[in-house]
Symmetry: D3
Subunit: 196 residues, 6 copies
Amino acid sequence: MSTRYPTPDIHDLPDDIKAKVLEVQEKAGFVPNVFLALARRPAEWRAFFAYHDALMVPESVGRESGLSKGDREMIVTTTSAANHCLYCVVAHGAILRIYEKKPLVADQVAVNYRKADISPRQRAMLDFAMKVCLHSDEVEDADFAALHAHGFNDEDIWDIAAITAFFGLSNRMASFSGMMPNPEFYLMGRTPKVKA
Amino acid sequence: MSTRYPTPDIHDLPDDIKAKVLEVQEKAGFVPNVFLALARRPAEWRAFFAYHDALMVPESVGRESGLSKGDREMIVTTTSAANHCLYCVVAHGAILRIYEKKPLVADQVAVNYRKADISPRQRAMLDFAMKVCLHSDEVEDADFAALHAHGFNDEDIWDIAAITAFFGLSNRMASFSGMMPNPEFYLMGRTPKVKA
Amino acid sequence: MSTRYPTPDIHDLPDDIKAKVLEVQEKAGFVPNVFLALARRPAEWRAFFAYHDALMVPESVGRESGLSKGDREMIVTTTSAANHCLYCVVAHGAILRIYEKKPLVADQVAVNYRKADISPRQRAMLDFAMKVCLHSDEVEDADFAALHAHGFNDEDIWDIAAITAFFGLSNRMASFSGMMPNPEFYLMGRTPKVKA
Amino acid sequence: MSTRYPTPDIHDLPDDIKAKVLEVQEKAGFVPNVFLALARRPAEWRAFFAYHDALMVPESVGRESGLSKGDREMIVTTTSAANHCLYCVVAHGAILRIYEKKPLVADQVAVNYRKADISPRQRAMLDFAMKVCLHSDEVEDADFAALHAHGFNDEDIWDIAAITAFFGLSNRMASFSGMMPNPEFYLMGRTPKVKA
Amino acid sequence: MSTRYPTPDIHDLPDDIKAKVLEVQEKAGFVPNVFLALARRPAEWRAFFAYHDALMVPESVGRESGLSKGDREMIVTTTSAANHCLYCVVAHGAILRIYEKKPLVADQVAVNYRKADISPRQRAMLDFAMKVCLHSDEVEDADFAALHAHGFNDEDIWDIAAITAFFGLSNRMASFSGMMPNPEFYLMGRTPKVKA
Amino acid sequence: MSTRYPTPDIHDLPDDIKAKVLEVQEKAGFVPNVFLALARRPAEWRAFFAYHDALMVPESVGRESGLSKGDREMIVTTTSAANHCLYCVVAHGAILRIYEKKPLVADQVAVNYRKADISPRQRAMLDFAMKVCLHSDEVEDADFAALHAHGFNDEDIWDIAAITAFFGLSNRMASFSGMMPNPEFYLMGRTPKVKA
């Protein structure tokens, strides 16, 4: 299995995209494939990462969120597994392990989040994320009430739903285009010594 | 059923968003609810509409597409119906009727695209869009071959998939947040006299 | 898409069927396609419309019903959408708009009845109709209790179930045979000026 | 589990219904429960049995069918099992055994028609019936071609679809109302000595 | 439909297997096909029947069970029907009729266990068995609580789950290999005179 | 999430089971939880591991198999993921990595085997395993033909089906009982230095 679309060379990218890609490479030690795979369409790339950052790095848009970094990656990993998206499960599972400092949690939520070693609050969060992922038309006021009972407010619920919705887009793009996760992701965060 | 989140007043919006909203209002005669409903989070609003325009108005990003305006709206209406998203079926169904100059086609693809009065090329396009919508993990090389046989190239296929993926995001946001379509959409494009 | 079976000429129909067809034409201004499409088998036609009238025009068989005309058409439109039957969604959606005097309600229940502007009593009615439509084997006493709580009695429940069951038959006949809705239906009841 | 609606006394039935019920009792040795359960609404009873006879006893309406009596009951038993309708599987399974003179075939098609001891022509017939039963919106021209290849003509295909559709109605009525099969049906046709 | 694998001759079997097969033949009057069909692989045969006996004949391993013989066969028949396994529904349905002394119960649970003439305790048992059969990943503590409320203890729950799981294996082996039930099973236990 | 049943102490186990457990501990460096979790019922334990070894260690029963050790573990990991069984995906994914000497393959087949870096022959093997896992009633002769085309003979097909069926049992036992994978499994085989 290899990608169905040619990947652009980093040197051919527009300057703003190249700069962001080099910044990521500097930080992570490698360029996650999604950065290059989507760059063949610069306008879509810019919108994708602007949306990504608005949801996943809320402080970058001057917003605080009731979800922790680990919560957000847990939503991504769990719903991406429901969509059978190899790229997102592996890449975001890696980041989830690091943020939660739990080497086992990503595999747990990917296979069956009901058996994962997570808090009841996170379980409620994932129940809602899975409903938005799989049956968004059936969301009811009772779903909001269940989240309120765990201390989530309506902005937190928007975050859960929007992260799920955004990565539903990402999952479909990765799966249809044959995007493969970088080998580096598979091992990240699995031992105390392995860092992002 | 009413929206679950307060809608911002147009006068409280950031200038760039207000300008775009007023431009749409000028053109359409009303402000489609999605423009206000998402504006409560400006950064997400900007990313959403940048992504939207990159896919749905490709000339705005200096790109040509093998899909017609009508093709694109047909993908949105059909896959939004599969996701049971009231807002997108009604709003984009209206635009589809206008672009295709077919007053009946939106209801047809929304209920059962297999019975719609569309071309075999459009039927193949929708078969693929529905696979990306519902079973993106099962996309195979044979799906690409089937589209090539109808004259679609790989950029067209990217367009079909990306439009489907983006509106999958939109569908989930609209459904979870209780976004309702403006009454104006229901009647648009249904008679020769009714225009957008 | 056109019908898979030849449609009989109105002048070749048996007298009783011809009389009924002409009566409908007189009243509606056109002959709904189902009247001609099924007439190629007169015995089945007679049984179909006898059954239809016993459920949908209860006063024609000397019976009163706790369901209003609008309730009945709402059941038909909603469950026909679940069965993806183009003919019934379009034709009965038109009648629903007229009876309920709500130009938007048919599109709402067809796409997602959970988001429709209907009463809690109608919502409960549709929840039950959808269960009979999709999972009739799972109907339990608790479903009856939920309807009783909204004021439906056991005869009303029979009506909901029987209308759902009858149009499940109708949906399958229309879909398999390629029956297409008359263009007139699409616009009926959408404006104050458009009448049945 | 008992029926959810009171069953009328045979002596209280309208004369035409009573006559038919007594005729069936005379022939079968008992009154199948469906005859009494539906009789609480005479108009619906008359339409139901008129429809039933038009499809299942085509000679009663002056029509010949390319389907044998056994073929018809096989469609009913198989699709009623897919709908999990206890009454119809047991009652029509009994008649199927008798018509096909195969004591085992009803249980076979009810559990898994793909393993049943039936002809390839019957297998194609059931494949189509199951598609009409479960996914009627997906019926395509290719389904007609597959049946033509086994010698079915378009009238036979109408018969297969209409029988499936009619018993889909019957299945839903029986399941929702708690109609139970008469004990007599369970054993009928299972041995050479046991007759209808 | 016939078996996809050659059936070994009883005289070619290893002595321990031959002895068990002859013992069954002596008791039942015939050799159930599963005994010969699996015997082509003696090691798997021995493990299969050791597992079978540990669950279905607990006294053979010095264990008592809170489930009756009839309870156990009811679980097998119901879940095997959900898996559409012809062999197990017919063979174990026969034994169920005999143990429960209810000639009708096997057909009832196979078609729709919700309509079967069984106790509320058995209904709860089957609800759990069906969840283990179809959605084992969703089993929750609440499912255990529901069974405790009907008097089942944790060992009984293990029995329900393990019997379901074991026959899920058996169902898949029978279906993939084309194993057919012996004709004798179809009639067993249907009348007071027919014995195992 | 912790196991729902008490785990026996290794010193309380019957001698034959204790010996086997100690042997595994010696070889692997730890006792995989399944060995203790099932040991609370010795007769079931013995049957389970006898079945396991007959399928997964065919040379232990004097049989050769056309499937490699890696093929067998790939079937287990893929179908266990379809059943959302945390224990089996993690434990057998580890062994799969080791046997195939591919640190990435287990995560790939668990999330979406269609995207995994495997041979076309293995892809065909997994297509069949997934059909046996999810729709065993639909297995057809054409499925056998597809496997023959990749060089599998009927004994290999039996192996694929039986391994799938056996681990379907294992998956259900692990999920219902809350069996958790040992932490050691998560990291095994992920780097050249990590061994089983």
